[in-house]
Symmetry: C2
Subunit: 577 residues, 2 copies
């Protein structure tokens, strides 16, 4: 490819609305352009990378015997009504009607469609297990699309669905997908990990997420300091140390705190350890619960875990945090929220396990501008319902009993689920078993966010000059930068000869034949992240030599013109490892 | 691939709702399944073919230097409002709103999106010409989806858009696309032709369609018997022979025709040549025309050409044929339509060129149950406005002045347009020219209906046993049918050895390892259309031999086991030519 007949579309300036580095670099390198909020066009450079990632995923899926199909993007409502998700799925499901007023949706996922296919086409246990996959454009009407293709509305996904007549068979395919995902992310050279995960709205009981580990990741991953334990923080139990609550040693007394409005103020003014403070959080109750409000109590330094709170039977799902007006209206107490506390509180409270272990603590008094100090459970107020409500923190005990917790950040790029019979039961997907009896099939499903994976790779592979692509998915492997191309016949001939030699050796080579200064060409190619850069100059050609620069290491070498193909082939082979 | 781990999904019965052979065979061969009207899932066999066709198209497009991009399926309304098509495009444009009530559409085509990209990314004439293409899923909300993927709502299309600063440059790329399309359809072994075409709702002034020629095609293509002239019948002029109208030789007289209701009745009862009869057709006038009805007159044996009629300035576009009630209401004449005629008619009439040449003809009298015989223009009634209104017929003069017309049927699989400045002017897509002045770019666009192309190929390549794939797009090149695989170790080992040898020689091979009778396996493979079939039997293995059958020719050969790879490789090479 020649840059003069290509669309580079690089940008010098950092686009104002891009928050994360991958989004900035994808725009600056001319990989993508936004068409509407969360909707992107893939420009030539970006598409080359996308296709290479797709190829790796397709190859690894084919290697496992998974079979590729292609399901429609536009799905009729019927199947989603059958599974129950037409009503359950929130506004992320884009629903519309066609010219005949029939209801359709843009597929964010394809469990219903593939289950319908299987119930029609597969009749015997002998045909199972089967694992189908597709690489396809999907749509999710995100409330707040952000970070470019990291959280976009239109995106490319590899989704796979497996069908079985036994849990053992499902487990075997699940394990196979687990190791296939490891292969895929390893081939791409990523620093990633698989973690236990919550199954969320897809359903099922066992699932793992695959995260690319980067400090800017939206998700928090919990590791054990001594074992292989790894899980999404959403589902990590905060294990209670075996220590009991200290005995009361202070008297409970009321303190004026009229000029204190936050936990931090309280800690600062009274030189309290934050571990002696508590805070109350209010969420809406489920509709059929008598009290419309659920009061929760956490330690001052702890953060609520929404997934855990949603598991409380009295709490509305998805979680709704109550506004101050709503809380005051229900409680009918004439105090600010910060002055609320468990003593003489008009509603039942649920307290976190850590709070249950506290003694001599400080809490709101339900009297405006006053706190109780030296409060003790049982002595001063009955112990409320206790539950695991908080996010774990570094240093907590690991739930597997080995070591303590170490939290990192990650970007979720893959998710595998054991769905079980959630969809097959709702849609009556059955096959005949060995005894000619109908049996409902068991399912697994396995997704990789292809477009997000590209952004995550950039988060891990960049420097201050731009993107540093892993060799396997680089848009081009080599770029030729000839100095003075348009005036020197020798430069032109040499550039064309090298271009021809590399192209015919099956190497993705780009020739920068623009009338630009070397500095401009260099900056563009380092921004785009071409791994190997060759500079052709009259000065070096006098010795039959050219200059090579490695994008990643910055290493510069002067090499003989005659060895160029072998040299580059070696470099690429090393890069591919 | 092994059939036991694959989804064949062949069907013995012809599905009731499938009208055309390609639709029937695609269902029976397990290539596609309908999810909703005009919306199909591509099953494994079908997808393999789809991917092979896509590869051919991509390769040929890349060869021309066209650059692949990927534009979104979901497009915001803004750009279509800018081009004017948001309102102009009919109900085939599926419009919807997102969760924020913003207007969007499912892209049936991408002129607006690419034009927006170019106006943002390209600033100088030096960067042009550029030709972008994508292979992508599109949606058109057809009023009557039919014939499977031949006229579906969701479909795969290769669309390309080129940008230029001169007509010469546009013409050059247009010519290149013309020959690229020839290459693509030739590589697929199709009997096709390029024809001059109407530009329709896409716009522009010059265009060619590419048609696969089959008797079941929806379109009529006009050829000259002696020249290279070829055009879609929509736009073929009916050339008037240079002969003048015969002089009147009969007296005009009224005849009772109360028991005559059609042209055929009239011809039969009065032994008239059909060329002496005329018929009247009524269409709605444009809204701003005084008379709400336009009356047209054609010879009894001629058919109206809607494209031509739509070009009359007084006619509503798209054409609306008037109902009998509507006509009676406007005319206020108490006679049936068949009795209407030009003499004393209350509205202006437009007559076809052929009608203008008639003399001594028969026509309705505007008196119930009576016709005038021996009517002559000018003598009996003034000659009305004359226009070219009819479809040409076999034997008409070719419009290029060479030979006469021969009409065939075809399926449109490609269409190339010189768009000119229709979109670039509306959307202000400009670049700086040599003199640093802004100039509006000139555009071309080039489409291939990938999914329809597959159906058209089947229309041309099938027999009474099923599909007969051209080698280049066959889902598998070879299938192995072992007899008694599950009981004979020798058969099993031989089958596995051949399977391994062919697979490692980069040949797409399928091993049918189902527990089925040979007849069942054979029927499935002939239905699917695998070009080369190998039967492995104990009888022939005694002589180290196997049986080969060619799907297309039916030729059977007994060949030595040791020569199998070379033999098949040769066969495939021949097939690929």
């Amino acid at each position: 490819m020649r840059t003069s007949k290509y669309l580079l579309a690089t940008m010098k300036n950092i686009p104002g609305d891009a928050e994360v580095i991958s989004h900035k670099l994808m725009l600056r390198a001319g990989m993508i352009r936004q068409l509407a909020s969360g909707i992107y066009t893939w420009l030539p450079i970006g598409l080359r990378i996308l296709r290479k990632v797709e190829s790796i995923v397709r190859e690894e899926m084919n290697n496992t015997g998974a079979i590729e199909v292609s399901m429609p993007i536009v799905q009729p409502a019927d199947f989603w009504q059958e599974s129950g998700r037409w009503n359950q799925y929130g506004q992320e499901l884009l629903r519309f009607t066609d010219r005949s007023k029939r209801k359709f949706l843009l597929g964010p996922t394809h469990e219903e469609v593939i289950t319908d296919l299987i119930r029609n086409e597969v009749s015997s246990y002998k045909q199972l297990p089967l694992n189908f996959f597709q690489i396809q454009t999907k749509f999710r009407d995100e409330v707040r699309p952000r970070f470019g293709v990291m959280r976009s509305r239109e995106f490319v996904m590899k989704d796979a669905y497996s069908f079985h007549t036994s849990q053992e068979s499902l487990q075997a395919t699940y394990n196979q997908m687990y190791s296939t995902y490891n292969n895929i992310f390893t081939r791409m050279g990523l620093n990633f990990c698989a973690v236990q995960a919550n199954t969320g709205s897809i359903g099922g009981h066992i699932s793992h997420e695959f995260h690319v580990l980067v400090g800017t990741g939206e998700e928090q991953i919990v590791f054990s300091t001594t074992s292989n334990y790894a899980a999404n923080i959403e589902m990590v139990e905060a294990v209670i140390p075996s220590t009991k609550r200290d005995k009361p040693s202070e008297k409970m007394h009321l303190v004026d705190t009229y000029d204190v409005f936050t936990i931090a103020d309280l800690v600062k003014k009274y030189k309290l350890p934050v571990e002696k403070t508590v805070k109350m959080i209010f969420v809406h109750a489920k509709e059929d619960v008598k009290q419309p409000l659920v009061a929760l109590m956490l330690r001052g330094d702890h953060v609520i875990n929404e997934t855990k709170v949603e598991k409380l039977p009295q709490v509305a799902k998805p979680i709704i945090f109550a506004t101050e007006d709503y809380i005051r209206n229900i409680l009918n107490l004439n105090v600010s929220i910060f002055s609320l506390g468990p003593i003489n509180f008009p509603l039942p409270i649920v307290i976190d396990r850590s709070v249950a272990l506290m003694s001599n603590f400080v809490t709101g008094s339900n009297i405006q501008g006053k706190h109780f100090f030296g409060v003790n459970w049982e002595r001063d107020v009955a112990l409320p319902e206790v539950a695991d409500l908080r996010q774990v923190v570094n240093g907590d005990l690991s739930p597997d009993g080995h070591g303590t917790i170490n939290i990192k950040r990650g970007i979720e790029v893959g998710h595998i689920f054991q769905l079980g019979k959630k969809y097959s039961r709702a849609m009556r997907a059955m096959v005949q078993d060995k005894n000619s009896c109908n049996t409902i099939v068991t399912m697994g499903c396995y997704g990789i966010g292809i477009t997000r994976l590209i952004a995550a790779t950039i988060e891990q592979y960049h420097d201050n000059k731009g993107i540093v692509w892993p060799e396997v998915i680089a848009p081009f492997n080599v770029v030729l930068l000839p100095i003075n191309l348009h005036n020197s016949l020798r430069i032109k001939n040499t550039a064309e000869t090298i271009y021809h030699k590399l192209s015919t050796s099956n190497i993705d080579v780009l020739l920068d034949d623009r009338k630009e200064r070397l500095g401009v060409m260099f900056a563009d190619m380092e921004l785009i992240g071409v791994p190997h850069i060759i500079i052709i100059s009259d000065r070096l050609l006098d010795n039959e030599e050219i200059e090579y620069k490695n994008r990643r290491s910055g290493e510069i070498q002067i090499i003989k013109l005659s060895t160029i193909v072998d040299f580059i082939t070696d470099k690429i082979t090393i890069g591919m490892r």
